[in-house]
């Protein structure tokens, strides 16, 4: 049935290719007449509070698509709280979230459809790795990684050999191959964190959100992970939002940095604009100096 259509599509595209002066242009890559909205999330008048105090207050924030966006700021600035609110407005007992958090979805019919952001996670469009992932499961490392593809399978279907190969490749990338058959409860903190990231990558989503994914990793694995995420953005046009503590890494790998302090957004922009000595020293309440070395800018 499909083969009947392919000569049709050839017939339709051929006149177009003849008319252009780029003979190999595929119809699908013609410029989209309607410009796609570059924002991923839009936050308006968002206020997250407990009964006693306000945790986060944001009047307006937009997070761009297809960039590696990093949230930085001191402990208690509200970065994790904000991220959780973007995913799920019922984030905990005693927390109220007011305001609107919308995500801009692009579909074929409506290039900038705004929906509540939490719908995205419920539809399985965001892969999430939290700060404290749970590992009290009687699963092996491979089975845990394959949980990432469970949204794509019906209840009686097992992951296909393709999925298993992909999981094996990712486990290899993150140096977890020797542990493939071990129970997840026996892993070290860093290994568990890398496994959680493998699981998220297995979901193959457009959007990825990680809350302090580098906490338990040594410097080599931190660099590898952030370089990997950067590659995903550049090569596969994914949108990635990360909370980081390390300023040097944040400067080096982010496309955009959002600096938070005491529940407010202090600054947003390119790393060199936001991460100035004065701004950082003020926010972190300690003296921070940037030094340019051959390896990049280092913050101390």
């Amino acid at each position: 049935m499909l083969s009947l259509f392919s000569p049709f599509s050839v017939v339709l595209t051929t006149p177009m290719t003849l008319l252009t002066d780029r003979p190999n242009q595929d119809l699908a890559t013609f410029p989209n007449p309607v410009k796609q909205d570059p924002t991923l999330f839009t936050l308006d008048q968002v206020c997250i509070a407990t009964a006693h105090k306000t945790l986060v207050e944001v009047s307006h924030l937009t997070i761009p698509k297809q960039r590696l966006v990093t949230f930085i700021g001191p402990n208690g600035a509200g970065k994790s709280t904000l991220l959780h609110a973007m995913l799920n407005q019922n984030i905990g007992v005693g927390l109220t979230v007011s305001g609107t958090i919308t995500a801009t979805m692009s579909t074929a019919t409506s290039p900038s459809l705004k929906t509540p952001s939490e719908q995205l996670i419920r539809q399985g469009k965001i892969a999430w790795v939290g700060q404290h992932e749970r590992f009290e499961l009687p699963l092996t490392v491979l089975e845990y990684a394959l949980l990432g593809v469970s949204p794509m399978l019906s209840w009686y279907k097992q992951p296909s050999p393709t999925h298993v190969k992909k999981a094996a490749a990712l486990l290899d990338d993150f140096e977890l191959t020797p542990l493939t058959g071990s129970r997840v409860q026996t892993l070290s903190g860093g290994e568990k964190q890398r496994l959680a990231i493998v699981r998220a990558l297995m979901q193959d989503t457009e959007i990825l959100m990680f809350d302090e994914p580098t906490n338990h990793l040594d410097i080599r694995h931190q660099r590898f992970l952030l370089g990997y995420l950067q590659q995903l953005v550049r090569e596969q046009q994914k949108s990635i939002v990360v909370v980081l503590h390390d300023l040097t890494h944040s400067y080096r790998y982010s496309d955009e940095v959002i600096l938070m302090n005491r529940g407010q957004i202090v600054a947003q922009g390119a790393p060199h604009e936001v991460m100035t000595n004065e701004q950082l020293s003020l926010v972190y309440e300690t003296d921070i100096q940037a030094y340019d070395t051959e390896g990049g800018r280092v913050f101390m």
Binding site: L139, E143, P159
Partner: protein
């Protein structure tokens, strides 16, 4: 049965033969397990009168008494184990037991109420089942109203179960000796009443519970990753929670209506199997159901045999044997 995923290397005659032999090896193991189960059932049918006799030459009346008991043991063991496996995933807690969602408390309340009013016969199992399901649904409704997520459900289940237990104690405190004796028998879990109530109602209820629970296996795995992560896998947490609790109530309520409050097995069997076999929840629930059924059958056989002519309530034997057995496994697991 589903085979757990293995890393497959490039296909070659050697690996193909290896894969084939692994498959047939597994099939062989399943066949052995099925045959062993059938042998145990046959042996259990022969236990009675303080000795063993072949089930072939049994008198008709004896047969009418024994096979419902065997069937009840299998059903109750299966129902409680599957329910326990599901609830341990739901509450992300290896100590979760079917009684946590209020089923035991509700059943006890129902039973004690009808006994205190002098009702007997079919009224008692019916009251147990109704009490179970009603209290369970009540907990779900309150949880929907009050919120609190998974922790909230656990707390509510615990509190309302304790409340039911208190009312049960109060009623027993005010009742006469006969009621007290019957109630104690029920509450310690006994299969002496097996066969007086047709099994088909319990079977229907358990089937309904199984049909709801088994397809949720993968979602239960996802739930064990935490609420936000589960949502990111497209799991509808609230819906799954409700379905699992309702299905567990159906399974446990049926089990309690057949044999009273039997603790331990719902907690112990899934834990054991998780330690030994591991794997996804659906597979774990199936294994728990099967092995839980056989386990309770064996324990009941022992309960009938050891102190003949006294029929020791199976719940007591279970706790006496199960406790040390679990500790032994725990110690072995640590070493």
């Amino acid at each position: 049965m589903s085979l757990s995923p293995t890393l497959s290397t490039k296909s070659s005659p050697v690996t193909d033969t290896a894969k084939a032999s692994r498959y047939y090896g597994r099939l062989g193991k399943y066949l052995v397990a099925i045959v062993a189960s059938l042998v145990l059932i046959w042996l259990a049918l022969g236990v009675g009168f303080g000795e063993w006799s072949s089930p072939m030459g049994l008198d008709e009346t004896i047969w009418q008494l024994r096979y419902p008991r065997i069937a009840t043991a299998l059903l109750v063991g299966m129902g409680l184990s599957v329910s326990g496996a599901a609830l341990q995933a739901l509450f992300e807690n290896p100590l979760a037991d079917p009684s946590l969602i209020g089923t035991s408390g509700g059943a006890a309340l129902g039973v004690v109420l009808v006994l205190a009013f002098g009702i007997s016969g079919i009224g008692v199992p019916l009251a147990a089942f109704s009490g179970s399901v009603i209290v369970c649904l009540f907990i779900l409704a309150v949880h929907r109203f009050l919120g609190g997520g998974q922790m909230g459900l656990l707390i509510l289940g615990f509190v309302i179960s304790a409340f039911c237990a208190a009312i049960v104690s109060l009623i027993l405190f005010m009742s006469n000796d006969m009621v007290l004796r019957s109630a104690t028998n029920w509450l310690s879990g006994s299969m002496a009443e097996a066969g007086f109530v047709p099994l088909r109602y319990a079977v229907i209820s358990m089937l309904a519970g199984l049909i709801i629970l088994l397809p949720l296996g993968r979602q239960l795995d996802g739930l064990m990753l935490g609420e936000t992560t589960a949502m990111s896998l497209g799991i509808r947490v609230g819906l799954v929670r409700t379905l699992v609790v309702v299905a567990s109530a159906l399974l446990t309520g049926a089990a309690v209506s057949l044999a009273g409050v039997i603790g331990f097995i719902g907690m112990m069997i899934p834990n054991l199997l998780a330690i030994i076999f591991g794997g996804g929840r659906m597979r774990l629930m199936i294994w728990s159901g099967w092995l839980g059924a056989i386990f309770l059958l064996v324990i009941d056989g022992m309960a009938r045999h050891i102190a003949y002519p006294v029929d020791v309530p199976v719940g007591i034997v279970l706790a006496l044997i199960g406790g040390p057995f679990f500790i032994w496994l725990f110690i072995r697991g640590k070493m």
